[in-house]
Symmetry: C4
Subunit: 262 residues, 4 copies
């Protein structure tokens, strides 16, 4: 599956709800979640209701507002009014789509994405502006081809330069972007083991985030990948570049090549 | 082939026929069949006139009305007025596209999909709301890679959770959905042998449905897959999740991996 | 490459030329050639100006009019007024795009497709209604994987049923369609050797057409495939079904399987 | 990723800037860069902000004007007003998007593509009309599969005929197109080694251009490909045909076949 259609910008077809979490602006988080989910669906990353996405309104009035897609919904058919909104301060639920007029939701009982605690970890531990979770087959295949490893590694591929160089700022104890990775750098993505319930991944995801200060993503064995970035477009670009590298890595490994150049 | 275009909802361009089986509502079964066939075509599931789909009007006035695409037609070019309509009670034919005005059909002689008795089996034995049949190459390849087996098996892949947990209700003798499959569950899809005539698959399909109360799909060797669900969107999601798993299974098997984790 | 966009029927945007070989009707041969070339481009069948298509106006006033796409042009950007038109009776050139107003063609010097004599062979020897020529990689790979053979063979795949059962009518000496191929039939497509100049393929293509009365296609080694049918939609469906089978055959052969079931 | 949507020509949605480097004409270089970047994105050639493109305004008033996409930007979301414009005579910067009104650029700090010196080499050494740079995975895989070689070679594939036959004109000392390559010709593309900084590729790219007067492209190991042509459409067609051949070459090599017929 693939190929977004760029022929017309998806219009935010918002009913006249008295709802401060909706907007006509295509760059509003609720609208971007819908647009990106269609793109991800076409890449076979979120088919079968899989995967998810969350955006923090980093450029809005309250940069602590987090928009989260609901769970178990066909991602390519999401509508802006189907989002949950949470305030990062205290993780207070500000909006649920279950309060929408019935003609919009057909009384569907929404639940926030099962990835919510994982997304929250990226926001609080890394001050991310957006988190993407896909079931990309290239990601799953890499966790299988590197089945006895807890790290995926690749080096000396130009596309690595699309990923951020991250570093601990010792004075603030925060991870900061200090530039881009270099061609000759070795990209290392931790792989954590899957759990029966998605929320149970939280501890190992947090541990991986702590142990790998240089990473902007975590692979989950037999499951997929979590990617975050400073804002939604960075997260989208990092995820795209990572998926390119994972796809290439499957081809290299299958052809008997090492992904790390000695 | 791939990539549905989401940029504008396909409009039901219905001529002013005095026909109670047509509607302007995009969610009407006749319109959804057209929309989904375009999507399936883009996934290479129904090219060359292959495959088919049928929807029961579970939310309409008469939930026993079944809409069926015609046989041997280019699926991506179907129009809403080309459907057959059958009443499940007695399997009475209520509508045939052969009665449409000539300017719409060019006097084409339509036949109902050759899958009709197979679709009917899903409706009557499982109270399905929709049935999808594709010639997915991942499905065909799995039946070939598991060439000496009568079951396809996979376990410990996150995407399995998109599939339903089905169970026999002993008091009603009906198969009921009791939840979703778990990550660690083993998904088992029966494989039946193909027959020269599609309708001759009916007996073995029914036998597989009886013998596998937990399945929502049947693979047909060297042919494709049948998938059903409680309503059209569930059937679409199950088919999508299954195809993802079948595609992944081909990659795993080709790379020498078992699809069932010991 | 892939995925036609079905969201809006491509409109025939015809300037008001006094040209009887142009029409507003989307089903007009000049318009269909453009529509199908876009579809074929998206399937990676005619990228890099490769491939071609020709349609005979079998339902028009003069069923001997043949529309032919020009040579060496980007197929996905063709316009209806860029076609050549030939009368099959005597192969007289009735229309050339070189006479179009300069603002439409920018004084480009058009040549008819190099496939023209090959298309003509299909029209005269088989009374085809349309001919399609692609550089499909599945076709090329099959001619390489069957590198020491002059026939490609496959059997016992459901999709074979989309292809026509052809038979010599002894009283008229014409090849006629007598039904569809069966699941258990062995599909045999002759493979001819490529030549430096496309027109030099004519003799061996004609010989293959004569020697294989049951075929509706000819493979060209290291080059692609020619497919024809009774009308443009049949040719499109046959080509689609054949490409599905060639793609599957590459997968089967690569996995060490025979494409013909013993 | 794949599949451009051809259903409506992308409209140049130009704000009423007083800017002589913008135009409503879809064939204007700034607009074509945007259109082609969307197409390349759908082919997975420029995802993750990778790759680039530059067009010389060969049919405009000043054929020495060169339009260059900015660096590090999502290529599929480029807008016409985000281009740099350089005069080839003296390489004077005539336009930078950094002077655009803030509402268009959000004060983003643009840099010209890191490929700029490489593009310039193609313009000055070969009088190219356009240069395309992609991170095509088929290109990267060929540089890996031909890992100990400094040339990629393929022969006897029909698609080779889409590439130009180039020859040194001894009287003018310029490389000129004298026709098309033949089916039996051996296509040779030099492979240069990647460097940490893209601009450091300039010397080896120039050396390859000098040493391979017959080539219209240079592969960069573990990175991608540079392709140029007499004008933007030729460059697009050459790149498309080359990528087809590189994709096929990966399949042939993986299947154990030589890409050059003895």
């Amino acid at each position: 599956m693939s190929a977004p259609c760029h022929c017309s910008a998806p219009k935010a077809n918002i009913p006249a709800l008295d709802d401060k979490y909706l907007s006509d602006d295509p760059a509003h988080p609720a609208n971007l979640i819908c647009e990106l989910c269609r793109l991800f669906y076409d890449n076979n990353w979120v088919t079968g209701t899989g995967g998810g996405i969350s955006i923090r309104d980093v450029k809005g009035e309250n940069p602590n507002l987090v928009y989260i897609a609901p769970s178990g919904i066909q991602k390519e058919r999401l509508q802006p009014w189907e989002m949950f909104v949470v305030d990062l301060n205290g993780e207070k639920l500000l909006r649920t789509p279950n309060e929408c007029p019935q003609e919009l939701t057909k009384s569907y009982k929404y639940k926030p994405s099962a990835c919510t605690p994982l997304f929250m970890s990226c926001y609080t531990m890394r001050e991310a502006g957006a988190c993407i979770h896909t079931h990309s087959q290239s990601a799953v295949m890499c966790t299988l081809l590197w089945g006895d490893k807890v790290e995926f590694e690749i080096s000396h591929i130009e596309q690595i330069k699309a990923l951020p160089q991250l570093k601990l700022n010792e004075s603030t104890s925060k991870i900061e972007k200090v530039g881009s990775m270099q061609y000759y750098d070795k990209l290392v993505i931790p792989i954590i083991e899957n759990t029966p319930h998605e929320e149970d991944l939280t501890d190992s995801l947090q541990e991986a985030i702590r142990n790998y200060p240089g990473t902007t993503a975590v692979l989950v064995r037999r499951h997929g990948i979590y990617v975050w970035g400073e804002d939604v477009w960075k997260a989208k670009v990092y995820n795209e570049a990572l998926d390119y590298l994972l796809e290439l890595a499957v081809k290299m490994k299958t052809a008997g090549m090492d992904t790390v150049r000695k």
